[in-house]
Subunit: 190 residues, 4 copies
Amino acid sequence: MADSLSLLGIVGSLRKASYNRSLLRAAGEVLPEGVGLTIFESLGNIPLYDGDVEDAGFPEAVVALKDAIARADGLLIATPEYNYGVPGVLKNAIDWASRPPGKTPLLKKPVGIMGATPGGGGTIRAQLQIRQSFVFLQMPALLQPEMMVSRAHERFDESGKLTDDRTREQLKKYLAALCDFVRKTRAAAS
Amino acid sequence: MADSLSLLGIVGSLRKASYNRSLLRAAGEVLPEGVGLTIFESLGNIPLYDGDVEDAGFPEAVVALKDAIARADGLLIATPEYNYGVPGVLKNAIDWASRPPGKTPLLKKPVGIMGATPGGGGTIRAQLQIRQSFVFLQMPALLQPEMMVSRAHERFDESGKLTDDRTREQLKKYLAALCDFVRKTRAAAS
Amino acid sequence: MADSLSLLGIVGSLRKASYNRSLLRAAGEVLPEGVGLTIFESLGNIPLYDGDVEDAGFPEAVVALKDAIARADGLLIATPEYNYGVPGVLKNAIDWASRPPGKTPLLKKPVGIMGATPGGGGTIRAQLQIRQSFVFLQMPALLQPEMMVSRAHERFDESGKLTDDRTREQLKKYLAALCDFVRKTRAAAS
Amino acid sequence: MADSLSLLGIVGSLRKASYNRSLLRAAGEVLPEGVGLTIFESLGNIPLYDGDVEDAGFPEAVVALKDAIARADGLLIATPEYNYGVPGVLKNAIDWASRPPGKTPLLKKPVGIMGATPGGGGTIRAQLQIRQSFVFLQMPALLQPEMMVSRAHERFDESGKLTDDRTREQLKKYLAALCDFVRKTRAAAS
């Protein structure tokens, strides 16, 4: 029997009806056995990163994020693409969580990146950009498969339920690959 | 006599003693004749981008940013690099200012990008990433020269004054090139 | 009456039945009045870039490419995406044409980038990568619209003819925008 | 005793006195015990990638490259940066070696990326670009440390010998980290 595994889900959008939030919820329905997924729901409480504030002490919401990351075996990010790049909301959370250097819980934490968008392109650019941050943070990121959901409005219903079976099947395979990747990364690091 | 020109300076860091704020201030001392530079000082008041909030109306700080952008002939961004990418603080401001699509004051606004960092590399990665957003927003960005300040702690004194003459000379040439670029871009658009 | 304008087309693939070659040929059929498009057909004769060879003198095929670039008012590149990046074939041609620094005919030459692919994504990654080279070479690249053709096999027939009317209309608008961009760039530079 | 390990070195420049060739040679002098490094010396014989040629059969030089990659436990690339990007010479070799999809010897092969340049920046941009190709090819690339050698002319003598002790020490640590990474990647895959 495989060891249990806990994933922390992070949504790159604050919108309540975000397709990426819906995508993460759908991920929670197709997890391999023994795997848990917790979605971090308080990204909107994190202030803008400010080094002066950091010097005075990490804000409570940042501590909560860092703790959640530290507890997780791996991360699962679902993000839209804003202006051909990573949403500031998501990058700001990563900037905070990356502090202080060398002691951040992000260090070497394995990660998977997904993205959903009503348009085409499937958040390709945002995903490639965030991978650059993971090079710096030494975070092994799943290479393949990738999970890019274009024309999201055709795949989720109004309640945010994933109604497209092909996407659900793809998501299931993605989660299986990610969990395998997280397990192997942990084993190699120990 | 050249027409007067107004630039809006935007700092990618909220830290009071930010090298990038100091770099923008130094830029204000080497402007070509007839050019004014206003530094937008309230980036820290802008909330995290949230589409639901946007639907209810733009927050006051965002309106102030959009108005300042609309009034300027061109933008001058000075930004650090966080985690091999654009700081979330800066990207968040751009994400807000980019709304609504098609009517954003960023559309086709000419821009120059600078960066200062205590390390090496001079914010190369952050600058390349933000250029991607400017492709989407149709913002002509000055190609060359580029302004990348490495080992910033050796070039500014404790009060934030630029003490390195070579950097000051480089900055002066950069501003001359940027203003020429903004003028030509405006002329071509009219 | 608008001045005449000459574009040089460069294909990033050597395959005879390349969709990108077909796309460039289709571009030749929807040019604005007064605009000519010549496709550079000899990219396959250009050797791999070698600084030692350059020191001994530019190879004939490279001289031909550089001359063709020098004669053109603007470039129109149509390229596939190989391994999430710019094809080596295309980059190699640019590397040669970029020499010697400061005297390359690429310097400040306006350019448009298109791409066709049988898959999805429309060569997004390759196009973003090649834009980085144009920052270095000071080449103004058309920002919007972009021309990305996915599922190319459904849009061209076996003889390479563009059969999809929507793509043809998009291409026509793209060429009109590119020619306008090239004209304004030249006017601003003079 | 650690198992023996064989690395294949690939130089992104064809110039005989290339700093990157020198860097790879210096790497051969600081290998951990039990590790061998073979430099692939025939990149210049590889023709430009052409899908029609591939259909008729892989050229001899490409077969040699693919065989060398298949025999190696990991790759070590040393590359200059041309025009803010990956040299066409190197990308062309990767484009050939990546064929056919699914059966390429590059698939899942661990890799380290180094770069030397006479200028500043240390090939940052080229290294980030080539990482994108490795996402597609499912090639685990060492995250940290990175090996970027700026002002290479001050660190190698005229015969190409690495004379800078600090760089040599950095290179030794890099090789140790890379070999550890290759070993763990192989173990995790088995």
